[in-house]
Amino acid sequence: MKKVIGLSSVALLGFLAACGDNNDDAVNDNNGAADNNGNTNEVNDVDNNDNNNDMNNDMDDDNDMNNDDNNNDMNDDDGETAEADPDYPEQPIEIIVPYSAGGGGDTVSRILSDAMSDELGEQVNVVNREGAGGEIGIAEMANAEPDGYTLGVFGYPDNFVLENTTDTDFTFDSFEYIASFDDVPHALFTSPGSGLETTEDVIEYAEENPGELTIGESGALGLLKVLAFEDEAGIDVSPVNYDGGGDLVNDLLGDHIDVASSSITAAPEITDSGGTPIGYAAAERLDMFDDYPTFEEQDLDLNMGVRRVVVAPEETPDEIIQALSNAMDQLGESEELEQAFSDAELPYEYLDYEELNDYLDEQNETLQPIIDENEDDF
């Protein structure tokens, strides 16, 4: 029995140590090797690699390549003026996630923090700062020291919608948008007992019974998505607000509401229990969700989704942004990273610094009128 006590105290100490390191055990575990890689361009020694899992080994190979490249001229090809800071990073990096552990945004940031730790050669820790639909964490990112050691990952357009509908401490320009790795399209699902199988059914029903169709939604974007659908289809529905995806899916599958507005990643679970995905907002069908129709196919122009973006506070030096952007480009070519995203059923699509900023400008222009027209509903 002494052993139990001994074990417990060891576990307790280990636990406390882990807590002190910003809640991320996995990162700690992987970091031994990464530290050696980082700033010195040394070739990994064999011992370190042995301690890592397969994914890390492969990453380390990329890492060697990157460290060589970093000193070369590849930056110039990007057409950006700043040189990447060769010394960055010199200390662990913190990524703020404005959502709770276990959700989609959290999953993305944990996959990324793991890969970034290896790529940058410094520990990258995830800190969950949930609350008020993401507002708390996003505001904290905006106010963080712009030194490149506090970054953030959140789902665009959460920030844009919050900024336009509530009195926030941040604006769209509070951030440098560095890269994005996934694009999760918005989708609508009908309940098992509703008898509505297609988008056409839904629109027809709503036209015949104005205001009677109930559409459940949750999150900062939920209402906006429903309003966009109303506008595009020219119908009048009743949005029902839910606190989270769990309640929403439960009430959909139990036929308490007619339609649920969620993202296409919920499709496997919902289909499994008898719900029907009637459409999702992508230009064309994604490989991962090949079985379900897009809105585009059904002549609805609804291009909405959530893109998890990696951001830094706005006044972060260009050299650091450049260094991060280079690292992201390396990760963007990593097949392991793509695999990790598809394993977690996240539709992977890499956008680099310029592509992302073009995408965001375009999206802002699409969203602004929808928000303005429906100002009273928020």
Partner: protein
């Protein structure tokens, strides 16, 4: 289900699975026992570790923490009167008086053995009845959730002491606290004073820590150790307690079933289950006047109910992919990152994951029993520690716990302020549990009512008609009324008014 796979069952008994179960439960008991931490925090800390593990082992580790954490809270609740989590509050209300009488070990034995019964029945339900129970959970829409949450408020009447006004005040205070923040349905700000920190609302855990941990420790400052508790090497045999638990089999099984059924409902979950079982045990007890003075029946009821929710809260998760509580949401995250689709097809497509997890959860009950039953002797050594060391240690952990929920100093501040209020409440005899019940149920009652109103309006029917369209919601309304009558009768008998 029905599919019974011998290979998987044998695989569950392999050394590495057993080790994972044991480690998970041990971590769970430790984080549960530390005031301010709980199973959910332990699970989110170890979540990243599971990404590198096989999915079945990963979720079994988390499942072990969940099970152990649900029990661990009772240890410090009984010994120090500081339940780290709401679910251990009744254990403190009944167990700590026993500790003061020098019967700490006895209380701890009652706690572990009833936790085992509850945990076992909960997991058994999960293994045997997942599909039908998942369908039952789906029948609970806004109207049904409204009534079941309302019944929780009625339960406050059963657990309240002789001054009903103090209990009503406490419940109303809890309901009021729950309204602070941005109302998601209308977007209106309530009592936020334009402060961003208040817009997110006040989290449950800092309130629990404030009322139960900080208040208790503040009161203990300056007291001599022997005023607060005494350590006695009580010579109680495990068998004596086991026999008594068996004697109360009806109570324990009933409480486990209450825990199991209420645990299935997403969102309502553990808090309601625990207090409902506790209130019910008080109603049926022959020693009702002993409640809050150290009644072992209260411990048995609450402890079996809280561990029963571990298994049943996974029913909607495994069967529908709907996580019913923050803890199960994190477990869902661990599965999703491995690309495992939750829902009916889980049992066909990944029987290895599903069944290893189910059988493994039974093992977590065994591991919890072994660690608990043999560890109790050592747990009670805490009572030998001098008060000067206990108070700062508990306060530090509680501060840390309050911070760690959302990594927010604001939560720490809230916990301390509520702690000061807790001191006043304890001095003036305002019961603390109703505050917590109010905070938990407030949003459930309000949100489901607004949802029901929206849907009724969309369907062009009066709210009353919508709320009472199906047999289940009518039955639940009947249940609320019946409960109210029972509670009123009970109070009349006990207090004569």
């Amino acid at each position: 289900m029905g599919a019974f796979d011998l290979d998987i069952l044998l695989g569950t008994l392999s050394p590495d699975v057993l080790m994972i179960v044991f480690i998970g439960v041990l971590i769970g008991i430790i984080v549960g026992a530390i005031p301010g931490l709980n199973g959910a925090i332990g699970i989110s800390l170890l979540l990243p570790l599971t990404f590198a593990m096989d999915p079945q082992n990963g979720i079994l580790l988390l499942g072990g923490i969940y099970m152990g954490g649900m029990y661990g809270g009772s240890i410090t609740a009984i010994l120090l009167n500081v339940p780290g989590d709401v679910v251990a509050a009744p254990a403190a209300m009944e167990g700590y008086p026993l500790t003061k009488q020098g019967r700490a070990k006895e209380a701890l034995y009652y706690s572990i053995f009833s936790s085992m019964v509850g945990g076992f029945l909960g997991v058994l339900t999960l293994i045997l009845f997942t599909p039908p129970l998942a369908n039952l959970a789906l029948m609970f829409g806004p109207a049904e959730m409204f009534f079941i949450s309302l019944s929780g408020l009625v339960v406050i009447g059963a657990i309240a002491g002789n001054n009903v006004y103090k209990s009503i005040f406490a419940a109303l205070l809890g309901l009021f606290i729950s309204t602070i923040g941005v109302d998601m349905a209308a977007g209106a700000e309530r009592f936020t004073f334009e402060a961003m920190t208040l817009r997110q609302g006040i989290n449950l855990i800092p309130i629990v820590l404030g009322l139960f941990c900080f208040a208790e420790m503040f009161l203990n400052i300056g007291k001599k150790s022997n005023e607060v508790m005494t350590y006695k090497d009580q010579s109680i045999k495990r068998m004596t307690v086991i026999k008594d638990v068996i004697k109360h089999k009806f109570l324990v099984v009933k409480s486990s079933l209450i825990g199991t059924f209420i645990g299935i409902l997403p969102g309502v979950g553990t808090t309601l289950a625990v207090f409902m079982a506790y209130g019910e045990s008080k109603r049926t007890s022959k020693r009702r006047d002993q409640f809050e003075k150290g009644n072992t029946e209260g411990i048995m009821a609450a402890e079996s109910a809280n561990n029963a929710t571990v298994g049943s809260s996974m029913v909607p998760l495994l069967a529908l992919g709907v996580p019913g509580s923050p803890t199960t949401a994190i477990i869902a995250g661990a599965l999703i990152i491995h690309g495992i689709v939750l829902g009916p097809s889980l049992f066909e497509q990944r029987p290895d994951v599903a069944y290893t997890f189910l059988y493994g959860m039974l093992l977590t009950v065994v591991a919890m029993g072994v660690i608990g039953a043999f560890g109790i002797k050592y747990f009670s050594y805490i009572l030998k520690v001098r008060q000067e060391f206990i108070v700062p240690t508990v306060l530090i952990f509680a501060l840390f716990g309050a911070y760690s929920i959302r990594n927010s100093l604001f939560d720490v501040l809230i916990a301390i302020i509520i702690g000061l209020f807790g001191v006043i409440f304890k001095k003036t005899g305002v019961p603390l549990a109703p505050v917590i019940i109010g905070v938990v149920l407030g949003p459930l009652i309000e949100r489901n009512l607004t949802r029901a109103m929206t849907i009724a309006e969309a369907q062009n029917v009066p709210l009353i008609q919508y709320m009472l369209t199906n047999p289940l919601s009518i039955a639940l309304l009947g249940f609320v009324i019946l409960l109210l009558v029972i509670v009123l009768k009970m109070r009349k008998k006990d207090f004569g008014a």
